[in-house]
């Protein structure tokens, strides 16, 4: 009898002691968590993309919960739904989220921008860019090794014909790709934007023309055409002021190299 009883007793006693210690420690060492913060955290999508400017969803929820942050509309992936839910939790007026999207300001595909040399190094934009600013004739161009595609949390970027292409139905506008691009040619624009300049070349017109047939040659036609005066030439590159732009499309018609384009956004977002 003792052969069975003693082991059972010993094991039970050890188990009970462990259980008691754990229960007591859970009571005494419990960390008080803010209920509002947890509720807000549940409203957020959990992508931890950092588009809101905080370290992740937890950071944003904590900031909102502790009233350090009052803007409920910073979460672009969660869009209006998350903003409305957060506002409901906090009991404030819901504000619309300005939905954003990544845009690659280069249209120099493989057949348009020629290569200066045969780059055989590590297949990454960062290293390619360190090597004489990449292998393309245009040094402002998309390098096409897909650093942006690698960091994209949504797999929304593909390299098509040697340049990055954003899948607008997948893009959540977090801006991680914009930070990864060594040439800084990915811009985060509002989804409401109608037209964009698909070129980042700051060279003079003639130099640009030699490297790429679809690059902005800084002719200034768009500047003159725009009825609202929303376009200006900054460093030999047409730049659109989205505050003034109405999306009339006159510049798209006027551009001789067709580097100003209408923004096409897939529905289903």
């Amino acid at each position: 009898m003792g052969e069975i009883l003693i082991p059972v007793l010993v094991l039970s006693v050890i188990a009970i002691v462990c259980a008691v210690i754990l229960t007591l420690s859970a009571i005494f060492f419990s960390v008080p968590t803010d209920e509002t913060t947890e509720k807000i955290r549940e409203c957020l999508p959990g992508a931890n993309c950092g588009a809101c400017g905080y370290s992740g969803c937890d950071g944003y929820a904590a900031a909102l919960g502790s009233k350090k942050e009052t803007r409920t509309n910073l979460c672009t992936p969660g869009a209006d739904k998350a903003a409305a839910e957060i506002a409901a939790v906090l009991g404030v007026q819901a504000e619309d989220v300005v939905e954003k999207i990544a845009y690659v300001a280069c249209s120099g595909t493989c057949d348009i921008v020629q290569k200066r040399f045969d780059y055989q190094g590590h297949k990454s934009c960062l290293t390619a860019n360190l090597n004489y600013s990449g292998d393309r004739l245009c040094t402002y161009a998309c390098l096409g090794y897909g650093d942006c595609a690698k960091v994209c949390p949504q797999d929304a970027i593909d390299i098509v014909d040697g340049i990055a292409k954003v899948n607008t139905s997948k893009c959540i506008g977090c801006g991680i790709c914009a930070k990864a691009c060594p040439n800084h040619i990915i811009h985060i624009i509002n989804q409401t934007s109608k037209v964009t300049v698909s070129c980042s070349n700051h060279d003079k017109g003639a130099v640009t023309r030699k490297a790429c047939t679809v690059g902005c040659i800084a002719c200034g036609k768009c500047v003159k055409t725009c009825p609202k005066g929303a376009i200006s030439l900054v460093d030999n590159l047409a730049t659109i002021d989205y505050e003034k732009c109405t999306g009339c499309g006159a510049c798209v018609e006027a551009c001789p190299v067709k580097c100003i384009k209408n923004v096409v956004i897939d529905c289903g977002k």
Binding site: V10, I14, A15, V31
Partner: protein, 196 residues
């Protein structure tokens, strides 16, 4: 003192749990993709091994051995280690939140990881006393950390190398692990001669 150093170095190099005894392969292959994760996991394992030895050695000596219940050691050790890890996690969350945040993901993963269980069982089988056990588990933990960090470096290099298509992914990782393990055989006769 010399004996303790030998036990420590033996745990780190000669009896390296992952590379020589093939215990604890799961975290070794699973969490060695990035160096910082590997370091986190290695430190968490070392930490838990030390605490597990501190808890299980007295239990064995003062409870199991007098009652002649040595055959219960595996189940008792699993129970105690699991409870201990939970306890450590609660305490860390309360008092050192930053450490909890960096180790937190790994702690539940290694609750009764076979390397942790292996080291406490081996301490008993090898007949180590309390102090020797502590040094042994510290050595094994450090050895685990060392192999994790080494292998994370190997893996990050491998990511950038064009390996044949049929070897991509897991196969080349296993081959690399075996090569690193072969390298560790070389430590076999070295440590005793170095110190002795």
């Amino acid at each position: 003192m010399k004996e303790l150093i030998l036990i420590l170095m033996g745990g780190v190099l000669i009896n390296n749990y992952v590379l020589q005894q093939t215990i604890g392969i799961c975290p070794f292959l699973g969490v060695s993709k990035k160096t910082n994760q590997a370091v986190g996991m290695g430190i968490a394992v070392t930490f838990v091994m030390l605490f597990a030895t501190l808890a299980t050695h007295p239990i064995y000596t003062y409870i199991l051995a007098p009652f002649k219940l040595e055959y219960l050691q595996i189940i008792v050790f699993i129970l105690v280690i699991a409870a201990l890890v939970q306890f450590v996690e609660i305490v860390l969350k309360k008092f050192i939140p930053s450490l909890h945040k960096s180790l937190g993901v790994y702690l539940p993963l290694i609750t009764t990881n076979c390397a942790v269980l292996g080291v406490v069982l081996n301490n008993i089988t090898d007949g180590f006393n309390f102090i020797q056990s502590i040094f042994s588990s510290l050595g094994v933990g450090l050895g685990f950390l060392l192999s994790m960090v080494l292998f994370a470096g190997v893996r990050s290099r491998m990511e950038n190398c064009p390996s044949p298509k049929c070897f991509k992914g897991v196969p080349i990782t296993l081959i690399a692990a075996s090569i690193v393990a072969i390298a560790f055989i070389g430590f076999g006769g070295v440590v005793e001669n170095l110190i002795g």
